[in-house]
Symmetry: C2
Subunit: 212 residues, 2 copies
DNA sequence: CCAACATACGGACCGTCAGTCCGTTTAGCA
DNA sequence: TGCTAAACGGACTGACGGTCCGTATGTTGG
């Protein structure tokens, strides 16, 4: 009883829908103005097909986001410096943040859609927990393996809330899509200015990190 | 043709609605599960009344938030140290962040409702721009008056994106309602732990702030 | 090449919800 | 007490996310 490969028209439609949704999102001001009917119509596909493929609105946005994000993720997980895992921690943290910010700058609307469309908070999304885990682990390295028995009492598998985890959250919060959008839009900042400010900010956080 | 004072039943209803909405929000898991019909029913008031008073969903949430936030705002604008304007900058920044976080810890659901219900981004909301302005100005003082004749450079009303403004955004992002909720909920942190982590994080940012 | 089956398709349909409209009620005033 | 402007309430509308099911089509075994 082997699982058959998916039908040809199915995969074709999947691509069509993804492309249509992408175009719609990047063209529209707010992601909320794009309805599922719009996507279906733009893709020349029935609504049923849309929901069958992606489950719900969230699923569509997630699928699109993952497709666009895949190469970045590869680079972080297996690539060379400065994003890859063999980079020196401090440099890598800065590179990770800059890469994430750059992606959001280039895909503002999609990123906003992802963060605001979630039925729950964006913090439950697997892509967030992945970024957070990666960043936290790198911060842990940066801080040095020495100070690592303190956070948890020897027998406490549940750390209350370790400093690296919080720092990772706080740094990621600084590149949230709606903030980025606001800086670019209402505050009229250039992408380069935002990147420069983030880099300076992150450097300040890191430089103070080791020394209490 | 003086504007008459509002009718007695109108103000009574306003309070009733606000109280009902507050109760509903704090009881419900996600603010999105509270419909306007729910509020109207709980307040024992017609839907028309609700919308006449508050304009739309956003208006209701904003009104409620402002009512709950008012005393804090007073304390920041005119109160004594550590929140008031006469506090030493470093101490005041820490106090502001802690006060804001404490408020969000105590009013999780309302705060989340405020941030996620906005038709636009939360960054356009006046309460955000107020917090951001206050924080930025205090950071400016902290950094020293030296580097500061530029803001109102006679001919440059548009600064590109100054470091204090960005830092203020980044620090405020660390206390966003959904992050706070996540830390408390999914990560099981205690309110005190979150406050401690935020204080430590902010201190790191500030201590590095002066020295490039 | 054909038949039969699994899979996918489409769009009518449903429930919910924000927001509107308008006929009715009532507070406030002279 | 009677008049009027203000407020009230709830039926109604339009839009949207999501479901259902009869129909069409790619795929596979004979």
């Amino acid at each position: 009883m082997p699982d058959r490969r998916p039908r040809a028209d199915a995969v074709r439609n999947r691509e069509t829908v993804l492309a249509a949704a992408d175009a719609l999102f990047t063209d529209s001001e707010s992601a909320r103005t794009v309805s599922m009917d719009d996507v279906a119509a733009a893709a020349g596909v029935g609504k049923g097909t849309l929901f069958r493929r992606f489950g719900d609105r969230d699923g569509l946005v997630r699928a699109l986001f993952e497709a666009r994000t895949d190469s970045l993720r590869q680079a972080v997980e297996h690539g060379p410096a400065p994003l890859g895992p063999r980079t020196a921690p401090r440099r890598r943290v800065l590179a990770l943040l800059d890469a994430l910010l750059t992606f959001k700058l280039a895909n503002r609307h999609l990123s906003r859609a992802l963060e605001e469309t979630g039925s729950g908070s964006p913090y439950e999304a697997t892509h967030y927990t992945w970024w957070h885990g990666t960043l936290r682990d790198t911060l842990l390295l940066l801080r040095g393996p020495a100070s690592r028995e303190d956070t948890g009492a020897p027998e406490a598998p549940e750390q209350p809330l370790d400093a690296c985890a919080f720092t990772a959250h706080a740094l990621l919060a600084a590149v949230r899509a709606d903030l980025v959008e606001h800086l670019l839009g209402a505050e009229g900042a250039s992408p380069e200015a935002v990147r420069a400010q983030l880099a300076a900010y992150a450097a300040r956080v890191l430089d103070a990190d080791g020394a209490p």
